[in-house]
């Protein structure tokens, strides 16, 4: 399976990728800005994500939340998201509404600041604080997103700090910060625009030039501090968190190869061998056979610079103690380290990854997002079409090489959640949900 890809760059630096597919009258527009939490200054954590919210608050010709309204009125879906290395904005619309989607994205890229007000900032700061309460503070294990990177990256490293930010930093964010952030990062030369689906390439190109062509190039962005790290932690960083959880859970992180590198594909396959679905090693051993775990998974963070993480996530069964959990997982990793993988395990992992990849490509939004990703990180959207082959060429030897260099005891960061010792000792009965229905 190969998708058609065209790419071109506007004079202002905007990189554009197009992938035509006429099977349904819909088109996906996807814009990646090469800025994420890694670009934040100390004391301003959470800013990239707060800024993502501000981009829905209107621009010169678009009112607050009108972007959402216009796209939904057009019969489209949309959203944005922020990650350590990038922020993306995307909409899928009926193909006759392509111009609208492009115009909206261009208006906020070209003319956001005239619409910014302190009141909008204050409200979105409240919204984001509520997002933090909802997705981090009020969720069992919700803080793992920020605790694990803290453990796995040195303090000065761009990936060390919280993506969603601390309440203190969010409170400090000012309108001046917004203006500077916008001028520095939300510029055409720091962005990739992808269009996938039902369009005429000549028309699409003309629309892109019309709406984005006059937006001035930025003045350049500050370089990130050095991000390369030694291949292993060199020790076993460990953090135990007592939390309002009912079952112990362990996150085990290995420093791993950056997304897109040859070693990355071996790491990704290794993750699938360990924790993807029911035939995976950890599932078979910990959930099925030994029955010490209720659930397992393994995945990479897909960080493209410096150093990625391979993460294993295991939730204990009620009768398993945290110590047992840690020991059992450790034993499995040790076994993998000493014995390596089999070709059947590799074949299974690759087959699953490839099916998922092809299945996902049915969606225009997914195609556009992946084009933007490879264009943003490597300036090569064509890599989308290389992925299946890259996975397909992963061998037992390559995975074993990865295992020997990365899964040793000197490269395991452990984040362990344990139920609060005295958690609700006065709770009385457990499991008595709404004991009495109303009289």
């Amino acid at each position: 399976m190969r998708i058609p890809i065209e790419k071109f760059r506007l004079d202002n630096g905007l990189l554009v990728t197009l992938s035509e597919d006429r099977t349904a009258p819909i088109v996906a527009v996807n814009l990646w800005y090469h800025v994420g939490s890694a670009n934040e200054k100390p004391g301003r954590t959470g800013f990239a994500h707060l800024f993502e919210h501000m981009l829905f608050q209107g621009s010169e010709n678009v009112g607050a939340n009108e972007h959402f309204e216009l796209i939904q009125r057009a019969g489209g879906t949309l959203n944005g998201s922020t990650w350590l290395e990038r922020t993306n904005y995307f909409e899928t619309v009926p193909s006759n509404q392509l111009a609208l989607a492009l115009w909206l994205e261009a208006d906020r890229m070209g003319a956001l600041l005239p619409a910014m007000t302190q009141k909008k900032l204050d409200t979105q700061r409240d919204v984001v604080m509520n997002e933090r309460r909802w997705s981090v503070d009020n969720q069992p294990y919700g803080t793992w997103w920020e605790k694990l990177p803290t453990l796995a990256f040195p303090e000065s490293h761009p990936f060390h700090h919280s993506l969603i930010g601390s309440m203190e930093d969010l409170s400090e964010a000012s309108l001046t910060d917004i203006e500077q952030f916008f001028a520095t990062y939300y510029t055409p030369d720091n962005a990739v625009l992808s269009i996938a689906g039902d369009f005429e390439p000549v028309d699409a190109r003309e629309l892109v030039i019309r709406y984005f062509g006059s937006i001035p190039r930025g003045k350049g962005k500050p370089a990130l501090p050095p991000m390369d790290l030694p291949p292993t932690f060199g020790n076993s960083p460990r953090l135990v968190v007592e939390d309002d959880v009912s079952l112990p859970r362990m996150y085990l992180a290995f420093r791993s190869a950056a997304f897109g590198s040859d070693e990355y594909y071996a790491a990704s396959v290794c993750g699938a061998v360990l924790g993807m679905r029911r035939g995976s090693r950890l599932y078979r051993s910990l959930v099925r056979e030994r029955q010490v775990a209720a659930d397992v998974s393994a995945f990479t963070f897909d960080l493209s610079k410096g150093s990625d993480l391979l993460i294993v996530d295991v939730t204990a069964r009620p009768e398993t103690t945290p110590d047992q959990l840690e020991a059992e997982v450790g034993r499995e990793i040790d076994a993998l380290f000493s014995d390596g993988v089999t070709s059947r395990e590799i074949q299974r992992a690759i087959a699953l990854i490839q099916t998922d990849m092809i299945t996902a490509m049915q969606s225009a939004s997914e195609r556009a997002d992946r084009l933007s990703m490879f264009a943003t990180y490597f300036e090569q959207p064509e890599l989308v079409n290389e992925q299946a082959a890259k996975y397909g060429s992963v061998t037992v030897d390559r995975v074993n090489e990865f295992i020997r260099s990365r899964l040793g005891r000197e490269n395991r960061a452990v984040l362990l959640y344990i139920p609060k010792a005295n958690a609700d000792a006065d709770a009385g009965t457990n499991g008595n949900l709404i004991g009495a229905a109303a009289p």
Binding site: P25, I26, N61, A64, N65, F68, E69, Q72, A74, G75, T77, T92, P94, S95, N96, A99, L100, T123, D126, V127, N130, R133, W134, S135, N138, Q139, P140, D198, R210, F212, S214, D244, V245, S246, R278, G279, Q291, T315, R317, P318, Q347, L352, Q354, T355, I358, T359, Q362, A364, D424, D426, A427, G428, T429, N432, L433, I434, G435, A437, A438, P439
Partner: protein
């Protein structure tokens, strides 16, 4: 700078929901196929007429656990072997019970479809249900319950269902069962449930994707054609409401960073003739990002990360629920604002602009909903489960566009019962209690035990 005017839309291109064909296998298994040859991918679903509403009393969660147990091994291979063979073909069989049916499904590359479907057929027709596997599944389910009960969202959803439905209504208990009922489910229960409810006459196979109709029928016939068995549907009262007056329940979650809020009541059944009016009304009230409730609670007040309303469509009357999570200090304010929006929705016709926001969205988004074989198969499954007519998806958009402001008002007045609203709050009672009591919404009963017990109040005179 972009000072170009907002562009107008060009003419839309035609779109039709994928063509599909109905057939029947020799033993009565229904078969619906939609060939879609975009990518080499196929989704297959088996829809079995047995869901949570078929659970016997005291065995809530049986349909769900039976679905789980299907994957634990067949007459030919144990669960592990089964998983490994499927995964080597790049796929796995998923199985789960919904309220009205059990769905067994798989998405696979078309080159492996034949081989994978043979395994799929085994899962459906010859599950083994070994005691050791059932014991493990039961413990896993109980561990899951501990997770749900320590999770504010899960706890709020469960508490809300329990609060709005009368005791004994199937919908008052979780689909996957409560701690007690799950604990009581035995291997024999599962085996019996399977014998009683699974069988060719109760099963429809839906196929969408890169397949040829005749070839697929041949494959299905050779894989499932031998399957025998009769099913005995069992239906019972599932959706009786607990009370007809307003009431609030607080569920204590000490030191919660937010209050999880659920506001609503028992809704309506899927086949209700007002369905389209309700869908459009709900979009305006809380279904879209630009809905009244979200714009009020999130964008005007910053109380929440998001607020939405939802009719849960089932064969019987599922919940109508407004869900949000707000900063504890503003819990009562958020409830008050929500009630204001409900009253506004019920007191006057919505302006045309707001009506078309909803109808244009539902009309326009239709082709986007069916991009994948999984989405197409799932739409066809809904057609089976809710006995929708074959032209349902072809006429969907015109039915949406036919909804008027008057229909929306009628739907709000008839199906959102302001006087019977039920509220469930999971949160830090020490912070929220006083404000909730001063709301004047309805009586709030004495204190609750922390974490999983709840305080329930009714409109009776005890306050």
């Amino acid at each position: 700078m972009t000072t170009l005017p907002r562009p107008a839309a060009s003419a839309p291109r035609d779109y039709r929901f994928p063509r599909f064909e109905r057939r029947k296998l020799s033993n009565g298994v229904g078969f619906i196929i939609a060939p879609v040859k975009k990518l080499p991918v196929v989704t297959v679903l088996a829809i079995i007429d047995a869901g949570g509403t078929s659970d016997p009393d005291g065995k809530e969660g049986l349909a769900s656990l039976t679905a789980d147990a299907l994957r634990e091994g067949t007459a030919r291979r144990d669960g592990l072997e089964l998983a490994l063979e499927l995964e080597s073909l790049g796929t796995s069989v998923e199985a789960g019970a919904d309220w009205d049916s059990t769905i067994v499904g798989m998405t696979v590359l078309s080159e492996h479809f034949g081989e994978a479907f043979a395994l799929f057929g085994e899962v459906l027709t010859s599950p083994m249900f070994l005691t050791k596997d059932i014991d493990r599944l039961r413990s896993e389910r109980l561990a899951e319950r501990m997770q749900i009960l320590s999770e504010p969202r899960g706890l709020a959803d469960e508490s809300f269902a329990k609060f709005i439905y009368a005791g004994g209504s199937r919908y008052s208990e979780p689909l996957a069962g409560g701690t007690e009922s799950v604990s009581s489910i035995s291997r024999e229960d599962i085996s019996e449930f399977y014998q009683r409810h699974y069988g060719p006459g109760a099963t429809t196979i839906v196929l969408a994707g890169d397949v040829d109709t005749d070839e697929a029928e041949e494959l299905l016939e050779s894989t499932l054609g031998f399957w025998k068995g009769q099913h005995h549907p069992a239906r019972k009262t599932v959706d009786e409401r607990s009370r007809t007056n307003r009431a609030i329940a607080l569920v204590a979650k000490a030191d919660a960073a937010q209050a999880e809020l659920r506001i609503g009541h028992v809704g309506v059944e899927r086949k209700h003739p007002d369905y389209f009016g309700i869908v459009v009304m709900n979009a305006v009230l809380g279904g879209l990002f630009s809905s009244r409730i979200n714009l009020n609670l999130r964008e005007a007040h910053g109380y929440t990360y998001g607020a939405s309303s939802h009719f849960d469509w089932r064969r019987n009357a599922g919940p109508f629920v407004i869900s949000t999570a707000v900063q504890s200090e503003v819990t009562a304010d958020a409830i008050r604002e929500t009630l204001t929006e409900i009253d506004r929705m019920r007191s006057e016709e919505i302006p045309v602009d707001e009506l078309t926001l909803a109808t244009d969205y539902l009309d326009g988004v239709f082709p986007i909903r069916y991009e994948t074989t999984a989405a197409i198969a799932s739409a066809l499954a809904n057609m089976v489960i809710f006995e929708l007519p074959d032209d349902y998806y072809d006429t969907y958009r015109e039915k949406v566009r036919a909804v008027s402001s008057a229909d929306v008002l009628a739907a709000a007045c008839k199906h959102v019962d302001a006087e019977a609203l039920q509220v469930v709050v999971v949160g830090d009672v020490a912070i929220i209690r006083e404000a909730i009591e001063s709301l004047g919404f309805g009586p709030v009963a004495p204190t609750l035990a922390p974490v999983v017990a709840a305080l329930v109040t009714s409109g009776s005179a005890e306050e």
